[in-house]
């Protein structure tokens, strides 16, 4: 049985509201999660007490702000079991983290004829930046296919071995698919890539707040995630990179804070992490992300993962016998992250979301920033229910009831 986090619901102010006169049932957590009181309080406290710019400042507030900001960095390093806080770069989120690597590392290292490998299940944010970078370098972008008609078997690992040629310089893949719910074997993928000398970039947007993460055990070179998908605020995220890689990487954004010495003619850079954080950083949200990481670790990340998996299993079971409903992704019994995507024969995803909203249930419908994958699955769009620690079995029962009514309304 999974841990019971129902007491934690009280920590999330946004959950306690009604929508169309129904109690809110928020099942759009893969898009963004709600924030516990401690995270909101961290923001308020920073602005009420410690607010100041960081670095270079010598007055009391500035030293406090710097300490808080650097403590957040050390906390993120610990959260990922990174070797060194200097391996943590604060960004706006996963998308910016991926862009940093795709633009800076690729410009510096990718050559014509090289290959960047991705997978067929990447979010646009871990796909389009590689398309652009590969095109600029004259390199090719190739894809590890998904196996099975509804992608129920995850990545085709036999094809991966054929695709991992010595031309592959970098392998970018998602840890958890935001559309399928597939959990990829990240450590194994990294190990295979390492054998051909390819660096790995792991999109942990959907895993950072859900599964325990250990970058050293995983063996990845870069890893990206967003605070807002893990109980933290919008506007802050992390790029983890191995220290030697980050110190050798040219800065992507330039400006104040990253430079050792500047003349009118040129500039030299500080080491990581400063060299990769141009301008005033998002100080307050980094501090609030610290609070979010503390919050998740206090609940226990293995327990959070188990809770997610249990809800996913309950959801696939509850939805399985709704007429005309087709579930995408891992088969019942296979590991599945805390989300379920599905299509209804008689109702378009957007109609489903609008209807469920009337019942107070927040779902997402569309292509989930996964257009090529949707096309491959032969679906214009799906509906997605995604869970977080505060969701309960009752939420899933309500979802199933609403879906049955929707099926009648549009199919009848």
């Amino acid at each position: 049985m999974s841990a019971d986090f129902s007491a934690a619901r009280a920590d999330f102010p946004a959950l306690h509201q009604t929508v169309h006169r129904k109690p809110l049932i928020y099942l759009d957590n893969a898009a963004t999660t709600h924030k516990p009181r401690v995270v909101i309080d961290a923001l308020t406290r920073f602005y009420e007490r410690d607010n100041s710019n960081v670095h270079r400042g010598l007055h009391a507030l500035s030293m406090r702000a710097t300490d808080s900001y650097e403590a957040a960095r050390a906390r993120a390093a610990a959260f990922l079991n990174a070797a060194d806080p200097a391996e943590i770069i604060f960004t706006r989120g996963t998308t910016e983290s991926v862009n940093l690597v795709a633009q800076s590392w690729c410009a510096q290292n990718l050559r014509p004829g090289d290959v960047v490998l991705a997978t067929e299940m990447e979010h646009h944010s871990n796909l389009v930046p590689w398309q652009v970078a590969a095109r600029r370098a004259g390199a090719r972008l190739r894809f590890v296919p998904i196996a099975g008609d509804d992608a129920e078997h995850g990545l085709d690992l036999d094809a991966l071995d054929r695709l991992l040629t010595p031309q592959v310089k970098l392998f970018a893949f998602t840890h958890i698919s935001n559309t399928l719910g597939t959990i990829n074997p990240a450590a194994e993928l990294c190990a295979r890539a390492r054998k051909v000398g390819a660096l790995t970039v792991v999109d942990a947007a959907q895993s950072a707040g859900h599964e325990p993460l250990d970058v050293r055990a995983m063996g990845c070179d870069f890893l990206a995630f967003s605070g807002h998908k893990m109980a933290g605020p919008t506007g802050i995220g992390v790029l983890y990179g191995r220290r030697a890689l980050l110190d050798a990487l040219d800065p992507w954004q330039t400006g104040g804070g990253i430079v050792a010495n500047v003349t009118y003619e040129g500039a030299t850079w500080k080491p990581s992490p400063e060299r990769h954080e141009a301008g005033t950083p998002n100080i307050a949200d980094a501090v609030a992300l610290h609070a979010a990481m503390d919050y998740l670790d206090a609940l226990g990340r293995p327990a959070l993962a188990a809770h997610d998996h249990a809800l996913a299993a309950q959801a696939t079971a509850a939805l399985a016998d709704i007429p005309g409903l087709r579930i995408i992704g891992p088969r019942p019994g296979s590991p599945r992250a805390g989300l379920v995507s599905f299509a209804l024969t008689d109702a378009h995803a957007h109609d489903v979301v609008t209807f469920a909203d009337q019942d107070g249930i927040a779902l997402r419908g569309g292509h989930h920033c996964n257009q090529p994958l949707m096309r491959k699955l032969g679906l214009p769009s799906t509906v997605r229910a995604s869970f977080y620690l505060y969701n309960t079995e009752a939420d899933i029962t309500a979802l199933a009831t609403s879906l049955r009514r929707i099926q009648k309304f549009f199919g009848g």
């Binding site: 957007h350 609008t354 909203d357 257009q371 949707m374 214009p380």
Partner: protein
Amino acid sequence: MSDFDDLYRDVILDHAKRPRNRGRPPTANRAATGDNPTCGDNCTVHLRLGDDGRVAAIGFEGSGCAISQASASIMTTQAKGKSPAELEAAFGHLKDILASGKTPADFDELSAFAGVHAFPARVKCATLPWHTALEALKQPDQPAQMVEGQKS
């Protein structure tokens, strides 16, 4: 009336479930396809512009949400017999309704879309078939597809 009931008025549900003029009329000599990549809606409109400069035949294909399907169906029923300028004018009325959320008293099935106003993300679903039809009208004539029954 809740926003929801206002969105899915009976007229809309009726057209979504039993769309009129689905498919390609045999005499069609112009077509265009539009899509809304954000939600996956797509719509192809086939039509024949008669010698009198009016829509002689029209039909649609494609998939999408109830709003876009109903809008396509209603659009085709309205388009028949209209000149391009008249179709454009009717679209203008629809856009007014969508922008204001107001139902003009003297107006027909288009007023059913007033409820879409409260759902800005759905406005494009309602306008897609109209954009596509006007696009089709701009295409050059193509010989009507020769089907069995037309041979003389």
